[in-house]
């Protein structure tokens, strides 16, 4: 099960692909709201997918500080690290 940052990032890219066309490149700097057009409800549903993928609990309060793919990956990494 992925627990290091690069693995988390790769899995996250896979989940984010549902919000983009096939030729859109997602990078750590990609802005979830402004570039991927993920609205508040889509983001909450994405978080449930992420919780299941990584077997963690992600409080939605923590999303207030998340704007980019990197920040989301970092949050997942922190939660997974705290759990281990």
């Amino acid at each position: 099960m992925a627990s290091n940052y690069p693995d988390i990032l790769q899995k996250l890219y896979h989940h984010l692909k549902q919000f983009t066309g096939p030729d859109v490149e997602i990078t750590p700097q990609t802005d979830l709201i402004n570039q991927l057009a993920i609205d508040s409800v889509k983001l909450l549903n994405l978080i449930m997918e992420i919780e299941d993928e990584f077997d963690i609990s992600v409080p939605i309060n923590a999303l207030a500080d998340v704007q980019t793919v990197h920040e989301l990956a970092n949050l997942i990494h922190q939660i997974k690290s705290a759990k281990q």
């Binding site: 978080i47 919780e51 299941d52 609990s57 409080p59 309060n61």
Partner: protein, 395 residues
């Protein structure tokens, strides 16, 4: 100007989606004729989205009680109960609601929104977890945010998902507040309370059930889903509203936990809001008696709800998963929903329009709320109107 720019963005998005000259949200109502009819523009319309489930907004008993209260106690209390005191009506309604639910304690709030805001933020705090259904009402989300607790969502009415999320919490499930609703306002479906109670007991969590849309609608005496399922003793806290079946405005929380009363001293939405007006309290007390005794009203309500649900199913509309007084027509695009909403209004029927992201799963909803006061002729006319619009919507 940057402070205000975000509101310009909202205005632009609204303009792009909605046609000029039509007030879809907050439509002006010129006159109200009865619990089911009003005037919009120059046209007489049928209310089919008002949550007036038992049709009590013009009940003579409620009108008389409100008139008497306003004459004897004035138009308002002008302050919070903490600072300005609790009127006799406030205390009497709390006793009556506690008796209605056979519970030890009750707190009355000024709005239903505030009941959830105050109860949730008073019960949960930093270090606790609130586990909420994904389709929860905004008042539940906002109460959770105000609490400072960690907020986790489970998939709507999915008990395998709730189980999984409780298991992940480990020992923290003991300091977890699970929140569900008797009838969900978006799709009109009930919470699977038997399974929620089983999980709540397995993980030693606390359960709050919001009966806003199920009060007066479910159960022999109208308590809601707790009565229909016989599980009232298994639910720790019940919240609800006066603004639907009771035809007024306000909210409540009842419980057998003695700690409920302490919310009066820690819950900021309770402490810092002016208390309900004497007229509101008086009409609500009168309406509660009618609701308790309203077996025939509930029978009529369900007859109307089943009739419309069945008719819309026959016509091929995609609906919520079960018949209920909240009947949601699920549409793929905002344009389809807007066309249906406008078509109904042109035929004199006023319903709710719910567009993304407010509606679940990126869909749009045209939501009907059925009342016991709707006549058979009115229900037939609604069915006929939906039939006329079907080919326009799905062409």
């Amino acid at each position: 100007m940057s402070l205000l720019n975000k509101l310009d963005t909202v205005a632009a998005a609204r303009k792009a989606l909605l046609p000029e000259g039509i007030e879809v949200f907050g439509t002006p109502i010129e006159e109200v004729y009865s619990s089911t009819e009003a005037k919009i523009g120059n046209h007489r319309i049928l209310f089919l989205g008002t949550n007036n489930y038992l049709g009590l907004t013009f009940a003579p008993e409620c009108l008389r009680a409100a008139h008497t209260a306003i004459d004897s106690e004035g138009t308002g209390t002008t302050g919070s109960r903490m600072a300005n005191g609790s009127y006799g009506g406030h205390r009497a309604l709390e006793r009556e609601l506690a008796d209605f639910y056979h519970c030890q304690s009750c707190i009355v709030f000024t709005t239903g929104y505030q009941a959830n805001l105050a109860t949730i933020s008073g019960l949960a705090g930093a270090g606790d977890v609130v586990l909420i259904d994904g389709d929860s009402h905004a008042s539940i989300y906002d109460g959770c945010r105000l609490s400072g607790a960690e907020i986790i969502r489970f998939r709507h009415n999915d008990m395998t998902d709730l189980d999984k999320r409780l298991r992940r919490l480990g020992e923290r499930s003991r300091s977890t507040l699970i929140i569900a609703e008797g009838i969900y306002s978006m799709l009109g479906d009930r919470a699977p309370l038997v399974d929620i109670v089983r999980l709540k007991n397995t993980y030693n969590s606390i359960l709050l059930l919001d009966e806003a849309h199920s009060l007066g609608v479910l159960g022999q005496t109208g308590q809601g889903l707790v009565e229909e399922t016989g599980l009232i003793d298994e639910v720790d806290f019940i919240t609800g509203t006066f603004s639907k079946s009771l035809g007024g405005i306000g909210g409540y929380c009842v419980s057998n936990h003695p700690q409920l009363d302490q919310l009066r001293y820690v819950s900021r939405p309770y402490i810092f809001t002016a208390s309900p007006t004497p007229a509101t309290i008086a009409s609500t007390r009168a309406a509660l008696k009618l609701l308790h005794d309203g077996v025939e009203l509930r029978q009529q309500l369900w007859k109307n709800a089943r009739q419309l649900y069945s008719r819309l199913c026959e016509l091929g509309y995609q609906l919520g998963p079960e018949p209920s007084p909240v009947i949601a027509n699920i549409l793929d695009t905002p344009q389809q929903a807007l066309t249906l909403w406008k078509g109904l209004l042109e035929r004199g029927i006023y319903v709710n329009l719910i567009l993304p992201p407010a509606a679940p799963d990126g869909k749009s909803l045209v939501r009907c709320s059925v009342s016991a006061a709707h006549t058979s002729e009115q229900m037939n006319y609604v069915g006929q109107s939906f039939a006329e619009l079907r080919d326009i919507i799905f062409q």
